[in-house]
Symmetry: C2
Subunit: 428 residues, 2 copies
């Protein structure tokens, strides 16, 4: 089995493989289509039944409790960043599939009776690299994002997600016919804490809050050559100023509190070296544990740029303003997971996640549990991202043990959601 | 005739028409293919013979002097900026075609004997919006840009110019079989001087010099969420700083001398809101009459950003460094053109061009003459760019008169190139 998961990871990583050892599987791309097909093939070969919903989420169900309409749901995502790592997302899907196969096998051999079915899911567009916002499939599934809005999202070239899903054959028409009782997701850490503290399994109790401000700077197109300088209304100049000021404002704020922040994506129109930019859109993100704090910093940033942007006669348009709240994960699931890790003799650490995951997106509709295995050097969204074989095997073993418990437990036995104590505030 | 040119401009402007009244005909696009076809059709209907060379330049030849291997060449470009004006480029091609038709007609009726043939050319990729550098077709034609390099240019999505020319059917295999004795180009002014001074025809004596610095900022990809701030090497942050500093340095320098400058295009890799940018490429341009001055400013700018960029642990790569020299246009051609305008009672102004034109690109290999008609408000590279009907008719009439002289004159009669006096230095 340990042998199998490494082979399987290697096979999945061949699809969209990059020269740097990572993968490029942007949502809706041909590579995304191919990796989805592989997932379907591998799942069907193990006896799973496939459902593809309207946003392309792909469900592979093992009918462990044929008389029941409930299921434990487990999975992650097979899409990637443009130069992404081979474990980010894929590890969770592959481990779920192999763990589900083992659980099904063990049920058969032991004669134990499952109360729930077991479904492995590959969510559409977790990454949000080509299409924003991210966590699309899980958000549509749980009802926090309208299907129409998700399908209408456009990439940089104006290509709609709906059309790309059609093209790769993954714009489904079915609903997954079961009712989820729990969601379980394994992911690589995307930080260096587990490695530094030599811990095998990270149990995620809470997430940080993130403010995502997508701001367009509005100027006027003109010729970069003859147009007199005082006549230019240069949206690129204003955007560059705003990014620079953003980092200054955040640097200042980060002296007192722990923030992460970024301005990583920019779209310039009309995108010619010889036209003064008329519209520049920048994706700003501010992260902190506390939702009120990220909201406040967003306002402070806007206040800091408004006067100079106005002086340059550039307009500001808030294209999207999304605040992802701090989320506390289900306590009962963490208990099951902690017990599973303990039974296998694995060391655990209670931790937070700074970034978003599908397990957070579905939390509003069902209890979800997220756990991490270490990633070397904490490298993430990088082709060199790597997780050691032993850590992968630990993740798979804990997942098997946890899923075994989850499919056997009655539904009502879980603690009320959100009953764990918050973690202490990290120090800067 | 006056009626004809407006109709013809309207017809060409329907291809790639934008909602704002402009055109979008990026080089190698389907629209570029369609407008090229229209040019070929219109030229053939007027009795011209078509040759398409290896970079897609399209030559429509009127055999006015069948025994001669020489030709007067006239034209401009049919490609546009992403949101370009309907006259920029197209006016020159259409006026050349109609003027050539008139000259051919007049020869037939008058019995005068032409010494040269007359060829209308549509140059490939004058604009440089989708593919850089600009002035591609004319530069390849004259030998200052290697054909292989031009064909291998890639757009933002990695699509090669060669493949796009193939796709639209304009990657030719022929050489234009004639030898040019002169090049004549009509263009809209792209500035407001003719309109402000109420002059009908601008005679271009000289060009400004331009330094084009394409600089890549090199960081490291990482996750915008969990990656600790001190570990990030954010190429976008450094690029935004550099653009901001660029404008400060240029603002300062422009207190003493007249400069135009821009940083209009940016490409960010890997282009995801959730990946700290690993490579950001920015197209900087510095324009002044004097070549040494633009070179010097380029160095001052680099010196101004290096320390901070290094402090951020970001690498700098000079992707392309091109200095377009100040060019003095052929004196004899200007004399012919001035006389033509005078004979028609049109007012003229000796002027400079701040931006590049195919007439400048071919100047190293043949005498070239460039003249302007006014553009309302000096608007350029903007969908609202507009030239009044009377000004268009003036341009066409002057072109006809000048081409008539040029096809009749013996080749050796022109003054040595570059013999005009330079214009006085403009004041700030």
């Amino acid at each position: 089995m340990a042998h199998t998961i490494h082979d399987m990871i290697d096979r999945f990583a061949m699809i969209g493989a990059t020269p740097g050892g990572g993968v490029r599987r942007l949502t809706g791309s041909t590579e995304d289509g191919v990796v989805r097909e592989l997932f379907v093939t591998e799942a069907q070969a193990r006896g799973a039944e496939i459902h593809i919903d309207r946003i392309g989420n792909t469900f592979a169900t093992f009918r462990l409790a044929p008389g029941s309409d409930t299921a434990v749901l487990t999975g992650s995502h097979l899409d990637s960043q443009p130069t992404g790592g081979r474990f980010d997302g894929a590890l969770g899907v592959i481990a779920s599939l192999l763990a589900a196969e083992s659980v099904a096998e063990r049920l058969k051999q032991s004669g134990a009776v499952a109360r729930h079915n077991l479904t492995v899911v590959n969510w559409t567009n977790e990454e949000g690299a080509r299409y924003q916002p991210s966590l699309t499939g899980s958000s549509v599934f749980i009802g926090t994002m309208p299907l129409d809005r998700a399908l209408a999202m456009q990439d940089r070239n104006g290509i709609k997600l709906a059309d790309e899903l059609d093209r790769i054959g993954f714009r489904g028409t079915e609903d997954w016919p079961l009712r989820p009782v729990h969601y379980l997701e394994l992911h690589v850490e995307q930080g260096g804490r587990l490695e530094a503290e030599e811990i095998e399994i990270g149990l995620v109790h809470e997430s940080w809050s993130t403010a995502k401000l997508t701001i367009a700077f509005l100027g006027e197109p003109s010729h970069t050559g003859p147009t007199p300088m005082p006549k230019r209304r240069d949206a690129m100049r204003a955007a560059a100023f705003a990014i620079t000021r953003f980092h200054e404002v955040m640097d200042e704020a980060a002296r007192d509190r722990l923030f992460h922040w970024s301005a990583a994506r920019i779209v310039v129109e009309p995108d010619s070296p010889n036209v003064v930019a008329s519209r520049v859109t920048v994706w700003f993100e501010i992260r902190n544990r506390d939702e009120a704090t990220v909201r406040d910093m967003g306002q402070r940033f806007l206040a800091a740029i408004r006067p100079e942007v106005a002086r340059q006669q550039i307009g500001l348009e808030m294209v999207a303003e999304e605040v992802r709240p701090r989320i506390r994960l289900d306590a009962a699931g963490l208990k099951v997971l902690g017990a599973a890790a303990q039974s296998l003799g694995k060391t655990t650490l209670d931790m937070e996640t700074i970034t978003g995951h599908d397990a957070l997106a579905v939390q509003s509709g069902m209890p979800g549990t997220l756990f991490f295995v270490p990633s070397v050097g904490g490298l993430s969204h990088n082709e060199a991202e790597f997780t050691k074989p032993a850590d992968i095997e630990n993740g798979l073993a804990v997942m098997e043990a946890a899923l075994w418990q989850m499919v056997l437990r009655p539904e009502g036995e879980r603690l009320p959601n959100g009953s764990v104590d918050p973690l202490p505030e990290p120090t800067v």
